[in-house]
């Protein structure tokens, strides 16, 4: 592998990183909104959020990519840049999973905490923000970090329908001209591993720490 080829892989890794960060930020915000909607006191809101999550979790990310890539075109917006379409699809996908993870964490906070906060005369918003969410956050950190690994890995399919140039796309382009699949896909796998493994370890460490303090 020449240094230019390696640089091209690194450029791809940069694309992967940018898409992952955008997904985590936007998907996280949407996921928080979904988690709130899932535990809303209004039944229609709860049902709508649950249905939306089922619709997204029951389909492959690649199909969402296709819908987000061709959808804006027929809505009259015209063709959108690859990064934008990929971010949109990934964020929708991530929000459905993060929303369910966080709903579980919020509901895992002990009911007496809600009741105590209510007795103190806090409004629903105050209860959520000052009593429940800080405790839920502790529970939510390990699975959230774990899902960040899923996001990084899933960005790899952004090249398939949309053609966003990320790490696996650049590796494939290099392989198409050199026919050394073990070298380029091996190097790409190592770069993915370098991005994911620290997060996996961190998630595990957080989980152990949390368990230790709860025992």
């Amino acid at each position: 592998m020449t240094s230019e080829q390696f640089f091209s892989l690194l450029q791809g890794a940069w694309g992967t990183l940018v898409l992952s960060l955008l997904t985590f930020a936007i998907g996280g915000l949407a996921g928080l909104a979904l988690a709130m909607a899932r535990i809303s006191p209004a039944r229609p809101v709860r049902v709508a959020a649950a249905a939306w999550i089922q619709l997204i979790q029951g389909t492959p990310l690649l199909v969402l990519m296709g819908l987000c890539f061709y959808g804006p075109n027929i809505a009259g917006i015209g063709s959108v840049p690859a990064l934008l379409a990929a971010t949109l699809a990934m964020s929708i996908y991530a929000s459905a999973f993060l929303g369910e993870i966080w709903r579980g964490c919020i509901q895992a906070v002990h009911k007496s905490q809600w009741e105590a906060a209510e007795c103190l005369g806090l409004t629903r918003w105050q209860r959520m923000r000052q009593v429940v969410l800080p405790q839920a956050l502790r529970l939510a950190t390990p699975p959230t970090v774990g899902f960040a690994v899923q996001i990084i890995k899933n960005t790899s399919v952004a090249s398939l329908v949309i053609g966003f140039a990320e790490l696996s796309y650049n590796a494939k382009v290099l392989n198409n001209s050199t026919f050394q699949p073990f070298v380029y896909f091996g190097a790409a796998a190592l770069l993915y591993f370098a991005m994911s493994y620290p997060l996996s370890r961190w998630s595990l460490a957080l989980e152990r720490k949390l368990n230790a303090s709860r025992r």
Partner: protein, 227 residues
């Protein structure tokens, strides 16, 4: 600009969609069965008394869980064919899926195995059960029962991920969809139809796993308690 939906020309291709869906089902079924066997073997290997086996399985699980399925399939399918080991596309796709899902199944089963109380195994030893009997009746079956919901989710996610196999040439749902798109130029409609088909498949698969659970884990039904 007003877009006119045209589902008729897309749905006219229903035999192709059906063919693709059937391939998706075949891929998923093979990968589920073989992946479960591989995962169970690895989960047992991870609790082995041989340190080298534990480390080997650990390295396999970490390598697979921290790299994308797409790159794994490229590496496996294109890599093997570059050294002359060509194989039918379906074989390569199933191989990639099995190696991938085996690692996830191993982790889930390991959690189940670790949840089995040590006293259970000691009791089984006192009853004079053999090593294999203990492993099967006391450890594995209750462990699988406990993690059944997690396994269901993981295998449904894998069924959805079979769509990635279109990139190494498998003619499953997404693969035939690409062909239909180039025939009809109705990309958005094709993806909407795919959305519906995959939703139906994941619903069917969840129901199948639920029924299988009822059949295999009869004890829970008799006790009438949810786990």
């Amino acid at each position: 600009m007003k877009y006119e939906f045209d589902f008729a020309s897309v749905l006219a291709q229903w035999p192709l969609f059906l063919e693709g869906a059937w391939t998706t089902v075949q891929l998923s079924f093979l990968a589920t069965v073989l992946g479960f066997v591989l995962g169970a073997l690895c989960a047992v290997g991870r609790g082995s008394r041989y340190g080298w086996l534990r480390r080997l399985v650990g390295a396999y699980v970490e390598a697979i869980r921290n790299t994308p399925l797409l790159v794994q399939s490229y590496f496996l399918v294109f890599g093997l064919s570059s050294v002359g080991a060509t194989m039918p596309i379906m074989v390569g796709a199933v191989l990639a899926l099995v190696i991938n899902i085996g690692a996830y199944t191993c982790e889930i089963l390991r959690a189940g195995i670790e949840s089995i109380h040590g006293g259970q195994i000691e009791a089984a030893e006192c009853l004079g059960l053999s090593h294999v009997q203990i492993l099967w009746h006391v450890v594995l079956r209750p462990a699988v029962e406990r993690v059944w919901p997690a396994l269901t989710s993981q295998f449904v996610l894998m069924m959805l991920a079979t769509s990635i196999m279109s990139s190494v040439g498998a003619e499953e749902l997404l693969g035939v969809a690409n062909r239909i798109q180039s025939d009809t130029f109705r990309n958005f409609e094709v993806f909407l139809v795919l959305w519906g088909l995959y939703l139906a498949l994941s619903y069917l698969m969840r129901t199948g796993f639920w029924l299988l659970g009822l059949m295999v884990f009869t004890r829970r039904r008799k006790l009438g308690t949810p786990l």
